[in-house]
Amino acid sequence: MTVKIDLVADLGESFGAWTMGDDGALLDVLTSANVACGFHAGDPRTMDATVRGCVARGIGIGAHPSFPDLAGFGRRAMELTADEVRTDVLYQLGALHAFATSHGTTLSHIAPHGRLGNLVATRADYARAVVDAVEAFDPRLIVLAQDGELADHARERGFASRSSPSSTARTARTAPWCRGPSPVP
């Protein structure tokens, strides 16, 4: 039985004159990319170039939505309502979707970034907000999540229509590998 795995990283996290990361090099390694959608990084030119680079190599494109926090790279704590999270995610999905469409492709997945990414694992209201946004935008989007609230809620929606050909909110497990302070998930 062949083992299959997706190698994914966050891409497109530069902003205008400010460069972050080495996307060029990573594009040769990855099979999927979580692309910044403008709220923590990623100006329109960066989003355009990143999507183009992914399409050229057959790399799956996912949304990497964040809290509205450019200065803090989406890492700062802020108290958002669940509805703010839902609509922020929808907005960012829309932005990236425009670039994907312009390059003849679609989004394959979503993986929340930074502080939002951490909180969707522990806050059920945020997890629900993200799943609501995904379901309203494109229920075929794969939700990349570690074990936690977001994975549970996404799976719940998926299970509900698992038997139907057009399944909603499929989830994929992402190994929290190579990230965070501890080598143990």
Partner: protein, 83 residues
């Protein structure tokens, strides 16, 4: 954060091919992953990413976008389900 590249690569390959991760005390924790998230920041990030990819390929792992990984999984699951 694992800084030793060899350890990082070995553990990643083990996780993907065996579905387990060894905790610092030696306990083997089962883990099921469809994707491996690589850090893109830090000086070693690209080097580690390349090393992990090469090691996975050497181990016979197929690297593919998550849509394909899930499709293969769903196929396997439906094949083992009674009609």
């Amino acid at each position: 954060m694992i800084h030793d590249q060899d350890t990082l690569v070995a553990r990643t390959v083990q996780m993907v091919t065996e579905g387990v991760v060894e905790a610092v005390d030696g306990t083997r924790i089962p883990i099921e992953a469809d994707t491996v998230l690589l850090h893109g920041d830090g000086a070693d990030a690209v080097r580690n990413a390349r090393a992990i990819r090469e090691a996975l390929l050497r181990a016979g792992v197929v690297i593919a976008p998550v849509t394909e990984v899930l499709a293969a999984k769903e196929e396997k699951e439906s094949a083992s389900c009674p009609a």
